[in-house]
């Protein structure tokens, strides 16, 4: 039985088990029909031209993990950014782990999707926001059909949340290959400010496939900083679908750090539904082995006077493959748009591949839109300069690569997080340098 059939039949069981009001049930039923119609994307789909899911879909995933797996804090401590005071929403094999988490309902909601979907007091929010940003592409639909658990964050008007929120998904995979489908909903009301760090971590050598959907709503003048750390094991694959709807004068940024995983696909979509909006999409990818990272971004400029900045850096070693597919659409009404898109890549192996496709679709005339894309190597003369001053080749290369990705790092607003990422980069490049010097 292939995965699609398995999922379709699992859905019947899933739908029978859950006691959820009719609104969500309808959304799920529509979504599974959509998935049934579309199936998994193939290389024939333009958006999946360079990324094939075939191998991943061959695994026999267990869709609903049966047993509860408790984790001890000390075993997973290293995956937390523990030197900051933060809210924590922790999941183990898709199930909420209360003793690892730190949630709140005090003035703001940092809690669980399952609670929001079931409790009547959230009903209005769910009806207004749930599945209102996600598109009906096959993988998002699949997630919608099975949406049950994930993080739910609702920040009321005029609140600046000092503590960042950490969302971590652990998978123990004790049984076999696991498929996880977390669903996150984040609503930030007017004039509020929130910082979120998301991370997926597999603790097993069994294959894990995560198909995650995150919907984010930024109301007027809201500020959202979202950080994704993707430093998973060789057997873990992630399909991340993030949809961000912004209202006027809001500022949203998403930083994606991809350092690991078998296959990582980031579908990052920004919809600008107001004037004077600012969107930032940045990413650093450093991978090797046979890893595959695909960034698929969309910025849809609908209203005038908005800005978007995209900056993706990639370093590819061994047999790694990198894909960048960035799309900027500027509608007829979106005059005075300022859209910038850059994708810079370094290949450090003859077997590494980079496929990049930055696209602009522009229907307004008074705009400033540009994109740039480069593929190159480390500067020989810069390397020579450092080596002639006694810096070993390996360190010199690492310094150059760090400098290359620093544009993205410099806009990370949580110092502890920045430190964590620089450590990962140093580790990844096999050097022992504190880049923060």
């Amino acid at each position: 039985m292939d995965l699609k059939e398995k999922l379709l039949s699992s859905f019947l069981v899933f739908e029978n088990q859950s006691e959820i009001d009719s609104y969500v049930s309808d959304v799920r039923n529509d979504a599974i029909k959509m998935f049934e119609k579309k199936g998994f994307p193939t290389k024939k789909d333009e958006a999946w031209k360079y990324t094939s899911l075939n191998k991943l879909l061959k695994e026999d995933y267990s869709v609903f993990p049966k047993q509860e797996n408790a984790l001890e804090y000390r075993d997973v401590e290293k995956y937390f950014i523990h030197d900051i005071d933060s809210y924590k929403i922790i999941f183990v094999d898709g199930k909420y782990s209360s003793h690892l988490s730190e949630t709140t309902h005090d003035g703001l909601d940092v809690c669980l999707m399952s609670a929001a979907l079931n409790k009547p007091k959230y009903r209005l929010v769910i009806e207004n926001y749930f599945n209102k940003a996600a598109t009906t592409d096959s993988l998002s639909s699949l997630n919608t059909a099975f949406s049950k658990e994930g993080a739910y964050v609702h920040i009321p008007k005029g609140k600046i949340i000092e503590k960042p929120i950490q969302i971590i998904h652990f998978s123990t995979g004790n049984e076999s290959a696991t498929m996880l489908q977390p669903r996150n909903l984040i609503v930030v009301e007017e004039n509020s400010h929130v910082q979120i760090i998301e991370c997926h971590q597999s603790l097993t050598s069994n294959p894990v496939l995560t198909n995650s959907v995150t919907e984010i709503f930024a109301k007027k003048r809201a500020i959202i900083d979202y950080y994704k750390i993707q430093n998973d094991t060789q057997e873990a694959s992630l399909i991340d679908n993030t949809f961000i709807k912004q209202k006027q004068e809001s500022i949203a940024s998403v930083h994606t750090f991809s350092f690991g995983g078998k296959l990582t696909r980031n579908n990052l979509n920004f919809y600008q539904e107001g004037e004077r909006i600012d969107s930032t999409l940045k990413g650093v990818t450093i991978i090797g082995d046979k890893q595959h990272v695909d960034h698929n971004t969309l910025v849809h400029h609908i209203e005038p006077n908005c800005e978007s900045h995209q900056d993706y850096k990639g370093i590819f070693a061994d047999n790694a493959t990198g894909v960048f597919n960035g799309k900027v659409i500027v509608e007829k009404e979106a005059q005075k748009t300022n859209a910038f898109q850059a994708n810079n890549n370094i290949l450090i192996s003859d077997k590494a591949t980079i496929n990049t496709k930055p696209q602009l679709e522009i229907f307004a005339d008074d705009v400033k839109c540009s994109h740039g894309c480069t593929v190159g190597q480390l500067d020989e003369s810069a390397l020579f300069y450092m080596r002639s001053r006694g810096i070993p080749e390996k360190e010199a290369k690492a310094l150059l690569m760090y400098a290359f990705s620093n544009n993205v790092l410099s806009s990370v607003k949580i110092p502890e997080l920045k430190l964590r990422i620089t450590k990962i980069i140093a580790n990844k490049l096999g050097v022992n340098i504190g880049f923060d010097l």
């Binding site: 003859d350 496929n355 679709e361 307004a364 894309c373 480069t374 593929v375």
Partner: protein
């Protein structure tokens, strides 16, 4: 005296019909509409082709039957009915002439209207013309001068008769029959086209030039061009077109194959000004062209194109950089106005070591048109030290048009150096104001700015063409100010 305002100008231009839209009535011998094996055989027979050519056409036809029309391009149009097209039409007058006096005077009149009288052309800067009117080569000039150097420049049907060994060896090697839907169609039914062979070490003393014309109502034009530059030779080839105004859509599916052997250089320039449809988007030519060049060691192929016409353009002149140290270049200006749609760009396939490619593409959209750049830069794993520079600039005039960029960059070698940049902007108000305050009216100012914008590409055109191209740009964009 009342002032001549922008509104007057806009009104005038709206009513201004396509300048070159006229139709010469030449008695044509036209095949019945439709396409089947018999028609393919008949075309081949009509042209007195040898057996292998007929077989080659039939093979292409078989492939074509099973293919589907591509839909990936960013254009919308009513698909042509391939059974409603006549696949062969030849001017009725005797096709071969020894001197210009024998040519049908009506036909000469057509050329005069276009301002390309043969007499004048003969005198002008050594341009040899192989004039194609609806598929059959009518007059060939300067043949003797070229023959002295051993250069073969003739229609492809003549070449099939006279130099079958060359045609057989090279036809379909760069663009195979099964390459794409339109290439397959062309391979099956191509009526005529140009053939050019430059022998070893010869530098072609003049620019070779062909004017394509679509004349008979309802006939599609399927040109096949084959240019072979043997080792160490050089040729510059010009191609230019204007077409009479027609209300039904006319289909043009040409194939151009360039082969540059070791150390050879081919420069291929195109000015395309086919009927773009009227201001309401009615009529116009469909231009689905496959152009590709193959570079052997140290060879160079340079494509330059100025695309101002056609209702729908679908055209990607490409270079396969097979030999080491080979160079590919692509310089393009695509102008769209009213309801025109253009999806054009290039493919640079780097296979050899130290290969270099440059892409400069300038898109100008006005009116309600859509202009897309679609390009591929592919560096294969064995292409050490490959270098590519791409620049795509778009200029938008008015807020009802669109400019799109779809660059594909695929790199499999670490020593590659790729740069791609694209910008989209409009003509700055400050630029116009600057011109205005120095007494240059807005229309002229726009022409000036557009010329500056396209200069990098215009400079690459041969002299005679550059002047014409500049004029074309102005004509195409007239009335788009507002």
């Amino acid at each position: 005296m009342s002032k001549y305002t922008e509104d007057d100008l806009r009104e005038e231009l709206k009513t201004k019909e396509y300048e070159y839209g006229f139709y010469t009535d030449i008695k044509s011998e036209t095949f019945p509409n439709g396409l089947n094996e018999d028609i393919v055989r008949a075309i081949s027979k009509k042209k007195e082709e040898p057996e292998w050519m007929t077989e080659w056409r039939l093979e292409a036809f078989k492939i074509w039957k099973d293919m589907e029309e591509p839909e990936w391009a960013n254009v919308n149009y009513e698909k042509p009915d391939f059974q409603a097209i006549s696949y062969y039409s030849a001017p009725n007058s005797k096709p071969k002439y020894n001197s210009i006096d024998e040519v049908d005077p009506e036909l000469l009149e057509t050329f005069n209207k276009l301002g390309i009288s043969l007499d004048e052309q003969k005198k002008l800067a050594g341009v040899a013309m192989d004039v194609v009117v609806d598929s059959v080569s009518v007059a060939t000039t300067f043949k003797e001068t070229l023959a002295e150097q051993g250069i073969i420049f003739m229609s492809i049907s003549e070449a099939i008769q006279e130099h079958p060994e060359l045609v057989k060896k090279y036809i379909g090697t760069v663009v195979p029959q099964r390459d794409n839907f339109y290439a397959a169609l062309n391979s099956a039914v191509f009526s005529d086209g140009s053939f050019c062979y430059i022998p070893k070490g010869v530098k072609c003393p003049m620019e070779l030039s062909t004017y394509f014309r679509i004349n008979q109502a309802g006939t599609g034009q399927f040109e096949r061009t084959l240019v072979i530059a043997d080792k160490g030779s050089y040729v510059s080839y010009l191609e230019g077109c204007t077409a009479p105004s027609r209300d039904e859509n006319q289909l043009h599916a040409a194939v151009v194959e360039l082969i540059a052997l070791d150390d050879a250089e081919i420069k291929y320039s195109t000015v395309q000004n086919w009927f773009p449809g009227n201001a309401e988007g009615k009529g116009g030519v469909y231009n689905f062209v496959t152009k590709r060049g193959l570079c052997e060691t140290n060879a160079k192929i340079s494509w330059t194109q100025v695309e101002t016409g056609s209702a729908v353009t679908w055209k990607y002149p490409s270079c396969v950089l097979k030999g080491n140290n080979s160079v590919g270049e692509f310089y393009s200006i695509a102008v769209t106005n009213n309801y025109q749609q253009a999806d054009t760009g290039t493919k640079m396939i780097h296979l050899g070591k130290n290969t270099k490619s440059t892409i400069i593409s300038k898109g100008i959209s006005a009116g309600k048109s859509q202009n897309s750049y679609r390009g591929l830069v592919q560096i294969n794993s064995r292409a050490e030290n490959a270098r590519n520079f791409s620049q795509c600039d778009s200029l938008l005039m008015g807020n009802e048009c669109g400019a799109h960029t779809f660059p594909y960059i695929e790199v499999k070698n670490q020593s590659a150096q790729i740069e791609h940049e694209a910008t989209t902007s409009k003509i700055g108000e400050d630029q116009i104001f600057y011109c205005n305050q120095r007494g240059i009216d807005t229309e002229k100012a726009i022409a000036l700015i557009v010329n500056g914008f396209s200069k990098e590409v215009l400079n690459k055109l041969p002299m005679e063409f550059a002047v014409e191209a500049q004029k074309l740009l102005e004509i195409s964009l007239e009335g788009s100010v507002g």
